[in-house]
């Protein structure tokens, strides 16, 4: 909540990092150690660094708005109520008979240590059974990386172009 209210962006980003770390510890409690590792390294680490880098390139104060924002609040409350209504049909927390655990999970749990030979089931599912998903994920990261490089690389190029244009526009003056 403090993140939403806060106008100092620097503090908001730091709070987001703490929130992410907290989320990672919750994932450990919920038995998702691999996810917790990734969340702590990527969510709390890399995201925070990226945001701090952006803040250093831009401004770190948010403009304080005076206009009341009642419409977003209504939209949010309505969506939340609908989600809660939908969630009331979900299986209860900790329920071992939930539909999620019935379909392919037993096969992965029972067979994957024998088939793949890796004791960590998350690793074997990620790299072997769902290898194409991981390949698609890599494609997404590659695309994002290319996008970032294009967006940030063009600036340097345009700066260089401006400099050369400036020097080019100066040279004729000198020659005449």
């Amino acid at each position: 909540m403090a993140i939403v209210r806060m106008h100092n962006l620097f503090a908001a980003v730091m709070l987001a990092g703490i929130y992410s770390l907290l989320m990672a510890s919750i994932f450990v409690i919920l038995d998702a150690v691999d996810v917790a590792f990734t969340e702590a390294a990527v969510g709390a680490g890399i995201s925070t660094v990226l945001m701090l880098g952006t803040l250093s390139l831009t401004k770190s104060r948010e403009k304080i708005h005076v206009r009341p924002s009642i419409i977003p609040l209504i939209v949010v409350v309505a969506t939340g109520a609908m989600l809660l209504y939908g969630a009331s049909g979900m299986p209860e927390f900790n329920d071992p008979n939930a539909p999620v655990h019935q379909h392919v999970a037993p096969r992965y749990i029972n067979v994957s240590p024998v088939e793949i030979g890796v004791p960590n089931m998350v690793t074997s599912v990620l790299a072997s059974y769902r290898g194409y998903d991981t390949l698609g994920e890599l494609t997404v990261i590659f695309t994002a990386g290319v996008g970032v490089l294009l967006l940030l690389g063009r600036r340097r190029r345009s700066k260089k172009a401006n400099e050369t244009e400036d020097s080019a526009s100066k040279e004729p003056e000198v020659s005449t």
């Binding site: 993140i3 919920l30 990527v42 390139l57 979900m90 071992p96 004791p119 089931m121 967006l151």
Partner: protein
Amino acid sequence: MAWLGHFNYWIFVFLMMAGFYTVIARGNLIKKIVGLNIFQTSVFLLYITMGKVSGGTAPIVPEGGSEGVVYSNPIPHVLILTAIVVGVATTALGLALIVRIHEAYDTIEEDEIQDIEENANTLENSGGQAS
């Protein structure tokens, strides 16, 4: 006790709506990205809590054999591993866009950008009419 069994969904909805509100109500672009991250994390929490089984452990086979061990569901973990990394990729792309916007407009506030755009449009229109 029925509502207590759905407590994880309540937390999920609360976090998700906090992030959603940040995205749609705040004019600051970095704030929007932070809100998007909160939104994402709430979805991660939803999936991970769905994979939890009471009395279960992390889905790693212990060294001394796995007789009678209850594991949590590994599939949501795999999906969320992928989602976290993709989420960071989108965050990086959004932040790069913000840096570019800041260079072009010298502001990261949505309404200020809109003002600048409108001013530019009116200038263009008046220029077109004059010529």
